[in-house]
Symmetry: none
Subunit: 537 residues, 2 copies
Amino acid sequence: MKERLSLYDTTLRDGQQTQGVQFSSDEKREIAAALDALGVDYIEGGWPGANPTDSAFFDNAPKTRARMTAFGMTKRPGMSADNDDVLAAVMNAGTQSVCLVGKTHDFHVQTALGIDLEENIGLLSDSIRHLTAKGREAIFDAEHFFDGYKANPAYALRCLKAAHDAGARWIVLCDTNGGTLPHEVGHITGEVIAAGLPGDHLGIHTHNDTENAVACALAAVDAGARQIQGTLNGLGERCGNANLTALIPILLLKEPYASRFETGVTMAALAGLTRTSRMLDEILNRVPHKQAGFVGSSAFAHKAGLHASAIAKDPTTYEHIDPALVGNARVVPMSNQAGQSNLRKRLVEAGLQVDKGDPALGLILDEVKARETEGYSYDTAQASFELLARAALGRMPDLFEVKRYRVTVERRKNKYNKMVSLSEAVVVVKVDGEKRLSVSESMDETGSDRGPVNALSKALSKDLGQYSAMLEDMRLVDFKVRITQGGTEAVTRVIIDSEDGQGHRWSTVGVSANIVDASFEALLDAIRWKLIRDLKP
Amino acid sequence: MKERLSLYDTTLRDGQQTQGVQFSSDEKREIAAALDALGVDYIEGGWPGANPTDSAFFDNAPKTRARMTAFGMTKRPGMSADNDDVLAAVMNAGTQSVCLVGKTHDFHVQTALGIDLEENIGLLSDSIRHLTAKGREAIFDAEHFFDGYKANPAYALRCLKAAHDAGARWIVLCDTNGGTLPHEVGHITGEVIAAGLPGDHLGIHTHNDTENAVACALAAVDAGARQIQGTLNGLGERCGNANLTALIPILLLKEPYASRFETGVTMAALAGLTRTSRMLDEILNRVPHKQAGFVGSSAFAHKAGLHASAIAKDPTTYEHIDPALVGNARVVPMSNQAGQSNLRKRLVEAGLQVDKGDPALGLILDEVKARETEGYSYDTAQASFELLARAALGRMPDLFEVKRYRVTVERRKNKYNKMVSLSEAVVVVKVDGEKRLSVSESMDETGSDRGPVNALSKALSKDLGQYSAMLEDMRLVDFKVRITQGGTEAVTRVIIDSEDGQGHRWSTVGVSANIVDASFEALLDAIRWKLIRDLKP
């Protein structure tokens, strides 16, 4: 019989304290639905009354299987719980569970609240009793608990006991400032239980200021706590909260947790974890963190040559779990450290069957190596890699040839005496034996200048004969530039991401000391790849 | 008497396994110098012979106080250590310390190496003996040690003992796949010591696949290991290695480590940690991770209203350490009093004395805010910030005015039928009441095209009247481009680093949807800043 471990998500409350993060109430609803599908037990939706978004969210809170929880603080000094309008706003959200934060560190009671220690115990006890009297499930967030315990253990414990005696279902030990290390969290949690507070009423809330938030949460569970608070993707104040996106797979897949505990997350839901993590980044318009544990796009990327060749024999040689369990995928990038075995695999993925031992494999590796020395990088630019391989294999169709181009950027005053820029590009191509000249400028629909690369892109695709129609559903979605070393000189590397109407997304690379040339090269590759895809029988 | 803890940095070797990371040998030298200044004990420079960059680095390795270490693998089966050319390349780098990775997990010996268990012990023992016989300090990286120990503890321990008996100074327990949790690392490290391997010969090498790499390293130290391997900013294969940027401040500032251990890192060096972390991101042209522990720009940002007001009373209420200890800074909402005092400090650093309460302070803050919304960033571009402040304070001298410019990039076949590019720039300025036209092209001394920004830079400084002479000792040393969000549109942010003959180095920023415009704006600021510096009485 497994023990139940409760998962309490605070993405919508503490997660919103991340610098630069501000959810709308619709976004909160979307995230709540994803959390519910994942299987957490509690969703802390926000602080009703503290800001218009949180109030609007609770006015129309989604129906969830998880307990929707309103967050607030214990009643203020000098008034009864019934008369505290801040607490009343929290209660009025009407959630079954309510979480109130209160002080347990003597220094904070005296410095931040400015009241005496006994009064603080009275007000947290009254606040919790107020919740239970109204039939709510009461959760007490013991702010600064670990710092408080180190400063004055007897007082910190008295605060917890007061909340427990007042009927709190969960008492959550918070490492608010994030400075407590795992061994201390484990040790102090053990002492709390030894002092008579039952572990199955204790929760843990940690922050990542020392990059130990996940370990601290595990240490508390090891010591007997049975609720974990955290956020998706580790969002949160300062360095973030304990990352549920890492904790959930640990609890389900790693020992002793997997055998000992059960949570509300099923293995089927776990397989949606990577998608859920990326969805949150989409909502926040953030670039997903590549190196995130379990769900990052690099989490199962094998760059070292020795690793990549062993992986080909048996994936368990260099993978701690099967990436499919969390909905992630193995990546064997092309790089100058990769060997022939993962090259063949890459080629197969690009639809190019090549026999083992084919001398072209060696040619391709040499070409990749030589180009990487010049500053190219094929880790992400898979489409350019495919074109390079096709050329080496003699499987590159003749499409068109660029004879020359010219692009001009001009900045001067317009008739209103305002400085404005305009770029104009002329591209000359030979297609189907015919020479074609195209000219385009960089103005978008709003009359803004989008620069020389935009003008070149338009001119290049404007008149490619039979191919122009195929390029109509293609668009540039990202453009990345970095200065790198090519041989002895600094060169510019441009990576372009493109998309089409059929759901393809591909990356191409160009390198040159001239940033416009580098961009043009990546553009050309992007167009060629698209044409090859569309020409396929 | 404190115990010595050894810090072994592998940013230049395992850090290079990060997806998308490829250092040049010059960049390696720059990073090695920063690591040496920080005070690590070992710098693992790479694998000589494995790729041209690493070989070039060791051919001309920098002189460091830290021990420069070459990495390689134990000799291959079926040949003697003397006859193994891979091992010979490692030895030929001539470093005092050499680190060899070898197998300790029976499954890997049999599956990946395909040899029997006894043979593996022989070859790792021979390899270590080969190092010590040649007078080198030998370090043994026990690959997959924790997985190996769980599968076959007796065999894994025999491997360690063989390396120890052969004279290895350090035996490093590696959690190669990153799946081992802190409690297991602590427990197994304890058993290794109990089995007779001395803790002061044991190191720990962990990966962040479960987001526990820092905690695992600490657990091994708690159990008795005395060397930590890690990387700056947690670079490394898959999810990265143990992050020294977090571990170093923990070891110096947190108990029991601070009282119990000493490392080669001084408190003065610790105060340079944030700068070192950002420098690495600059080299990699990565956006620094805001939520990184200790050094992230959000690590001491107080967004919650309750936190910010308590911080104003006493910073220890919501900060686990003083941010200045690691060279970081507190971030509080710009609007309040603390925002203005920070600003005054920055102005003084730029040589601009401004009285407390001067209304210009509010104007500057508003201007910075508005520009940051457009995509500007003044974190590094101090020179552009100074120019912005000068303008707001009415302390910006009239220098020259750019009336217009035009730059053309042309690519076509030359007379040898080879595609070549050339850029040509015309800049029109008004200086000392006189209009001047200059034209330059982008060819360097070797006849290579350096692109449109180079042509613009030359044309702009070519004929600035009295100022041209002052620009003779100025040169562009770095150029960084990032696509970022400006309002609702993607824009290009260009940061230019410049240097002059007097030892100044300064950074300027330009933002536009047009990459050439953004570059020109940053160029203009660079020239203006230089002229103001040289015109100073």
